[in-house]
Symmetry: C2
Subunit: 377 residues, 2 copies
């Protein structure tokens, strides 16, 4: 086998591969362990880079990290394409947030007001301006707003590109599972194993099931809309992500379940909301219905940094619904931490220490916990 | 190769295989040609044996044939199981026809009244009796009726069983396509090629697309209902077929299209109607969404018998939505015709001659044409 590497990354999803790439380009010897690269949450993910639309009440620190990472995406995507020749589907048309009914719009407007209050670029649109931007929206859509800086990328292009970039930079992929961290020989071990981090580290990462469907525009053309649409539709929250190859991703449920079965009810709710918002989607082919498991955490924020009591072990997991957008900032900050030994202040709110017994009682040491989620199990 | 067979059957769907089986058991040497047995409409079919629920205004002769064939099903299934050891999923709980809204019920009742008028066994049920039979029906289902003699079979079990039975009786399967009937060497050639019959014979058989979804009860159990449910739900016509292995078939669209793409709109309509009628289906797994092409004819009735101007060629095609229920009567009558040379009077309304120029003008020689379908293209 290889001589002892400087860095072992456990998990070849986007986060693990990007860390490996960033470490390898800094001259570190890197090994990535994963029996099935890219087969986790990223295979299901829609790829929205949406710090604005995803800015929820009470998640200030997370919003800050999302914003910081989204700002890195243009350069990250360009660098990745330069390194690999792969177009990762980075698109900048922006995101339209829309409400179907008066009630939906009222709910959405409360959130938009919050997002504007904390300084995020949300631009309410008159109905005529909304339809100028997306004529395919249903006439009954009551109103909307533009998040111009919320972009998208295609995770199914991203992961192979990151793997190529990491390998070209010198990283080695070992296609085997890691059962215990003590089995890994390396200067530093980074646990980027998504939901698998719980068993390896004891960190409170739990699976949060998401179901989505993938449609395809008939006739081989591009979809009849260009923006990412984030809709409130009769109480359902749904997003519609158009790809230039004709694919439309419709997602996603958020369920406290650990199976990956696709349920009739979830597909019904997603399709109903999608077709209510964009009627032409009824004519699209239904290509795939699938479910994945996001690595959720008690405060919905990722877990990034040194694992208390485990020298030489770093966590980079718990990205929940934000794994794709958070890939660049996670990779940069973890690689910096490994190569310089100093943690960027951006990492402070996301330290694993916030979930260890000695520090859990120190309120204010981590991201604020949303009201509906005081405890974790 | 073989010496010239007595009978060549083109098409190894249920109709072709059953004809082969019946001919082989009569001592005839039989060859069946099909590059992909069972891959046509039967792979998608739900397997309802429903002459009562399928009895529509203006289709008297067809209803007679459906009834005659359904009456043969118990013995046919028993004989097939005896010959092969295969349980083909023949179930006799009967069919509940239900209306979701007042409008749906009014529409359904007009049809039930017609069905009763022509002597078919339709039993209207009080709401309490309906729920005694199927407690899982949604509370808002307004009313229903029982068609106790409308049963079901599983086409995906039926076709392999028929193939085994035919082969055990001495028939030979040739896994290759027939491009021209002149390529076939046999005493009698039977065209049982579904939609493929059009190209081989010039008969007016056209593809009628049907989409359906297959669900599965969670946890590996049987579905929470026993009857076939035929629902009218906010104007949608849907059927729900429970199998003892946990499968539930939800079908089906009827579309004048020739593709087999699955559309988001069709899946949405099927799932919405299904969940509206039986709310627990929302929790079922969505296992499969697929489309097939039924062999439709101008008068919705099959085409059975000698092809005018083509001595030694018989048609057994155009079964449209009724291929499974019509399998026994088709096989028996075609095998009788081949072995005795005499056509059963039951075949008379379904002769191919009704679509050939010399006889097309003789009104009354074929099944009556439904009002909405005077012409074919």
């Amino acid at each position: 086998m290889l001589s002892r590497p400087d860095v072992a990354v456990v998990g070849a999803g986007p986060v693990g591969l990007a860390i490996a790439w960033r470490c390898a380009t800094r001259g570190l010897r890197v090994v990535v362990h994963d029996p099935a690269p890219g087969s986790g949450a990223s295979h299901v993910a829609a790829g929205m880079l949406a710090p604005v639309a995803e800015a929820y009440f009470g998640e200030h620190e997370l919003t800050g990290l999302l914003t910081a990472s989204a700002a890195r995406w243009p350069a990250f995507a360009a660098e990745l394409t330069a390194a690999t020749g792969v177009d990762v589907g980075y698109r900048t048309e922006g995101t339209l947030m829309v409400g179907l009914t008066t009630d939906d719009l009222a709910e959405a407007r409360r959130l938009w007001a919050y997002q504007q209050r904390i300084g995020l670029p949300v631009t309410p649109l008159r109905p005529s301006a909304l339809r100028d931007r997306e004529p395919a929206l249903a006439p009954r859509v009551r109103g909307g707003a533009l998040a111009a800086t919320d972009h998208q990328v295609d995770p199914r292009r991203l992961v192979p590109a990151l793997r190529t970039a990491a390998e070209r930079a010198g990283a080695t992929l070992v296609p085997a599972a890691v059962r215990r961290l003590s089995d890994v020989e390396a200067g530093v071990t980074v646990v980027a194993a998504g939901c698998g981090a719980a068993a390896l580290t004891g960190l409170p990462v739990r699976p949060v099931k998401g179901q989505l469907v993938r449609l395809r525009a008939p006739g081989g053309g591009a979809p009849g809309f260009r923006h990412v649409i984030r809709g409130y539709a009769d109480g359902e929250h749904v997003y519609l992500v158009p790809r230039s190859d004709g694919e439309v991703v419709v997602g996603a449920t958020v369920e406290e379940r650990t199976d990956t079965d696709v349920s009739a009810g979830a597909v019904l709710r997603l399709l109903r909301a999608a077709v209510d918002l964009l009627p032409e989607l009824a004519e699209y082919d239904l290509v795939e219905a699938l479910a994945g498991l996001r690595p959720g955490t008690p405060d919905n924020a990722p877990i990034l940094g040194p694992l208390p009591g485990r020298p030489g072990v770093l966590a980079a997991t718990g990205h929940h619904r934000h794994g794709i957008v958070l890939t660049p900032v996670t990779a940069d900050l973890i690689a910096d931490l490994i190569s310089t030994g100093t943690a960027d202040p951006l990492l402070a709110p996301f330290t694993p220490a916030r979930f260890t017994p000695a520090t859990a009682a120190r309120s204010g040491s981590g991201p604020s916990v949303p009201e509906e989620e005081h405890t974790w199990n």
